[in-house]
């Protein structure tokens, strides 16, 4: 017994080396999403353009759709609007989750919905409008629950309201073809 205990440090070290070895071959920046294969978290968000209309998870079930997190302030989001619009024309359902920058009460002008609606309408007119509608997540409650780390990000949600994919970064023809389209088709099957 006394003999074996002195080999314990070696055993621990070898176990560590094994982890370090596998760590070498995986990307440390890659994040596995915690929301995959879970139902949409509960929410009640106002429509961006018609604030008296409230969206809940129940209202979104029935068809597979893309939930696209974006904002007019985000250049990458604006760049992908054109391609997303093409996708919509091909019959892909896209719902926007509007992600507003945080406001500092000391520095920034107070939030003005009319101004935001104007900005959004103008932007969508210029770049194309891929969205069936936009939900305004002013408090970022849904974004937090979904594990959004920034914009743009896109989720694939199936007809039962289960989140099936989480894509960080923009959607371009290549990303769509290689990564998202197969998933979208897979989860669109009835």
């Amino acid at each position: 017994m006394r003999k074996i205990i002195f080999y314990a440090p070696l055993a621990l070290f070898l176990a560590l080396a094994l982890f370090l070895l596998s760590g070498l071959f995986s990307d440390p920046r890659e994040r596995a999403s915690a929301i995959i294969d879970k139902p949409l978290p509960n929410f009640a968000l106002a429509d961006l353009m018609q604030p008296d209309k409230i969206w809940t998870p129940e209202a979104l079930t029935g068809e597979t759709f893309l939930l696209n997190v974006w904002g007019v302030w985000c250049p990458t989001c604006n760049a992908e609007l054109g391609y997303l619009t093409e996708l919509r024309q091909q019959g892909v359902n896209i719902v926007g989750l509007y992600y507003e920058l945080p406001r500092d009460p000391a520095f920034d002008a107070p939030f003005d919905l009319a101004v935001l609606q104007q900005d959004v309408a103008l932007k969508l007119q210029q770049q194309g409008n891929p969205y069936q509608f936009n939900m305004l997540d002013l408090e970022r409650s849904l974004s937090l629950d979904l594990g959004v780390s920034g914009a743009p990000e896109t989720f694939i949600v199936d007809a039962n309201g289960i989140v099936r994919a989480h894509h960080i970064g923009d959607i371009n023809p290549q990303v769509w073809r290689t990564k998202l389209a197969p998933l979208y088709q897979q989860w669109s099957q009835p």
Binding site: R2, K3, F6, Y7, P9, L10, F13, L14, L16, A17, F19, L20, L21, S22, G23, L24, F25, S26, P28, R29, E30, R31, A32, A34, D104, A106, F107
Partner: protein
């Protein structure tokens, strides 16, 4: 030309390291004295060639030789000369060369100052150090050549040094830190050599102690300087971030701290042997693991160098050979070692054992906190992150019993201590500590109990106890004045380092409790009041530095109408690297720092300003400095320089 000469010098150093690794070690097993005697000249030669290589690299940086890729990527002709020198170790390649130079330097020092050691042991120690040198020089030569050229197409201007590294603290931080990391290689080599020979006694411990202390001294200074740099340069007033790379330096420090305490037991009482040897191996092993973490890209950190799986693979294999090999040797040899000494439950041995347990628990917590996300992910459990709250909470719970024991430790005798004689002095210390803590708290503007009170109490307990203990020892020489010159330097060193720890604890607790931080919008002429200080923004103007532009803000600070100081904060834009850096304005006093950093320009000719008043934050670095000073004092102890001739003859 000079760069090629540098590469040649490094190649020579490699050849000498190979010889150093093979000849004396082989000589030690066939008992060939001439082979053993070769160790010293080989070690010195290796150091000289490493030094030449480093000088060649510095020359390439100073002459703006942009045909060298390393220079082109990390320097520019507009960089001030002192940063051109430090840029030579600002990149992965250059820092690796510095690492090699430090390692060769320690090896040369051991060769120079080990005359008292038996020749056999000397040859083995130097041979093991040579073996480690081989690994690192080969890594530098073959995996990350600092002298690689980009001919025939080379840029006319360099990409400049990362602005984060353009700071005074960065001139000293890497060399000191590396001195510490690599310094533990010496204790490691001593431990391995002893494992080969099977001798661990107080004489062995007395030989290792100064080397372990010296490495610990440099590592302490390096970490403190890094913390001070982050405070000045990152612009938000934090001094420790629990970043994976900081943790990588903290782990060998904790293991090293445990080592220097455990060595005391082995030297004085001839026990704790297997423990001490394991710690000596662990301190350097953790340095190597740290180097792997920083340079392989396994973890994401602000400090990490550009990632390259080839380098990671090399370091991992090296780690397996060095650490795995030494632990294998440890496992196979250690069971034959027996400790003779017996001691009671209440004795200094037990308290030092407790010290080791707490330090290693702390080390384990840092280790798990740093690597748990990696384990979690590699086991397929998804991504998680472990942040400040975890570490802070854990260290909060660890510090309390640790500091309580630390206050008691020096009072307790070796072997066995009766409880009764200690009750009176310890009660006095406790009362004094309570009065000091409550008194200090009463002087603060607001009385916030919990953390501040606890920190002050623990700090005062350790500090007062250390002072009272040293007074007691002095009195044992007849009178205090009589004793001052008679007490060992290492005893003063211990006292100073313990006081340093007390100062550090107070600093952390007070800063955490009493820091006031405000983000304000200011126009010229505006005044912001933070914690009783009035900060008035006088002027903001354009800056024009050698390799940066930006803005500078001038502020006047007063308190209750009395002028306190003038502050100058900068926001620099480095032109070549296109990065923004904040140069915070700091007005430092022992009792508090005023800290201002200039933020974004806001609409309406105004500026965002971050203003902080941080009481006692200086104490954190002062505490670290005192600890390092304590180590220096202990190093000066006469007994480490006494020639051990008697022993030498007996074992020749």
């Amino acid at each position: 030309m000079i760069a090629e000469a540098g590469q040649l010098a490094l190649t020579f150093a490699f050849a000498l390291a190979l010889l150093l690794a093979l000849v004396p070690l082989y000589g030690s097993f066939v008992a060939n004295q001439r082979m053993l005697l070769l160790a010293k000249p080989l070690a010195l030669g290796q150091f000289i060639f490493c030094l030449l290589a480093m000088l060649a690299l510095i020359y390439a940086f100073r002459t703006n030789d942009f045909t060298v890729i390393n220079v082109a990527q990390n320097s520019s002709s507009s960089l001030p000369w002192y940063y051109q020198i430090t840029a030579s170790f600002g990149s992965h390649e250059g820092s690796m060369l510095l690492w090699v130079l430090m390692l060769a330097g320690w090896t040369a020092l051991v060769a120079q100052y080990s005359k008292a050691l038996p020749l056999l042991l000397q040859g083995r120690i130097l041979g093991i150090l040579g073996l480690i040198c081989v690994g690192f020089i080969a890594f530098s030569l073959f995996m990350s050549n600092p002298f690689a050229r980009s001919l025939p197409f080379f840029p006319v201007e360099g990409r400049d040094l990362n602005p984060l590294l353009q700071d005074f603290g960065m001139i000293l931080h890497p060399p000191l830190l590396y001195m510490g990391y690599v310094g533990f290689a010496v204790a490691f080599a001593f431990a391995l050599a002893a494992l080969m020979g099977g001798r661990f006694d107080s004489v062995w411990a007395r030989w290792v102690r100064p080397w372990a202390l010296a490495a610990w001294l440099f590592l302490t200074l390096g970490i403190m300087l890094g913390s001070w740099w982050a405070y000045n340069e990152l612009g938000w007033g934090g001094w420790w971030f629990w970043d994976p790379v900081e943790n990588a330096s903290f782990m060998p420090w904790l293991a090293g701290t445990a080592l220097i305490h455990s060595l005391a037991v082995t030297e004085k009482r001839g026990t704790f042997k297997s423990w001490t040897v394991l710690l000596a191996l662990a301190a350097f092993a953790l340095s190597l693991v740290g180097a792997f973490l920083v340079r392989s890209g396994v973890l994401v950190s602000v400090h990490s160098f550009a990632t390259d799986p080839g380098r990671g693979m090399y370091l991992l294999v090296f780690l397996l050979l060095v650490v795995g090999g030494s632990l294998l040797l440890y496992g196979s040899r250690m069971n034959s070692v027996r400790s003779q000494a017996r001691y009671q439950l209440f004795s200094r041995e037990m308290l030092l054992w407790g010290n080791n347990i707490f330090l290693l628990t702390a080390c384990l917590i840092v280790f798990l906190g740093t690597l748990f996300p990696l384990f979690h992910k590699e086991l397929g459990l998804g991504s998680i992150s472990i942040g400040e709250p975890f570490f802070n909470q854990m260290f909060y719970y660890l510090t309390i019993p640790f500091a309580l024991m630390l206050g008691l430790g020096p009072w307790v005798r070796w072997k066995q201590q009766q409880l009764m004689p200690l009750i009176k002095p310890m009660a006095m210390v406790l009362i004094a500590a309570l009065m000091l803590a409550l008194g200090t708290l009463a002087l603060m503007q607001s009385v916030q109990a919990n953390l501040a009170l606890l920190g002050l109490l623990l700090g005062a307990w350790v500090g007062v106890s250390a002072l009272a203990e040293v007074m007691l020892r002095l009195k044992q020489f007849g009178s205090v004045t009589n004793g001052i010159s008679k007490l060992n330097a290492s005893h003063y060193g211990m006292t100073l380092a313990h006081i340093g720890f007390a100062v550090l604890v107070i600093g952390v607790a007070m800063t955490k409790t009493y820091t006031v931080e405000r983000d304000v919008r200011m126009q010229e002429g505006d005044t912001a009041v933070v914690a009783g200080y009035e900060f008035t923004l006088q002027d903001v103007y354009e800056l024009n530095g050698p390799n940066y532009g930006g803005q500078a803000a001038e502020l006047d600070v007063s308190k209750a109408g009395n002028y306190v100081t003038h502050l100058h904060a900068e926001k620099r834009f480095y032109r070549i690297q296109k990065t923004i850096m904040t140069e915070s304005a700091v007005h430092a006093r022992l009792s508090r720092d005023l800290y201002v950093s200039l933020g974004e320009e806001l609409p309406g000719n105004a500026w965002a300003m971050r203003i902080q008043v941080k009481p006692f934050v200086r104490w954190i670095w002062l505490g670290g400095l005192l600890m390092a000073l304590g180590a220096l004092l202990a190093l000066c102890d006469k007994r480490y320089r006494r020639k051990l001739t008697g022993y030498n003859q007996a074992n020749a």
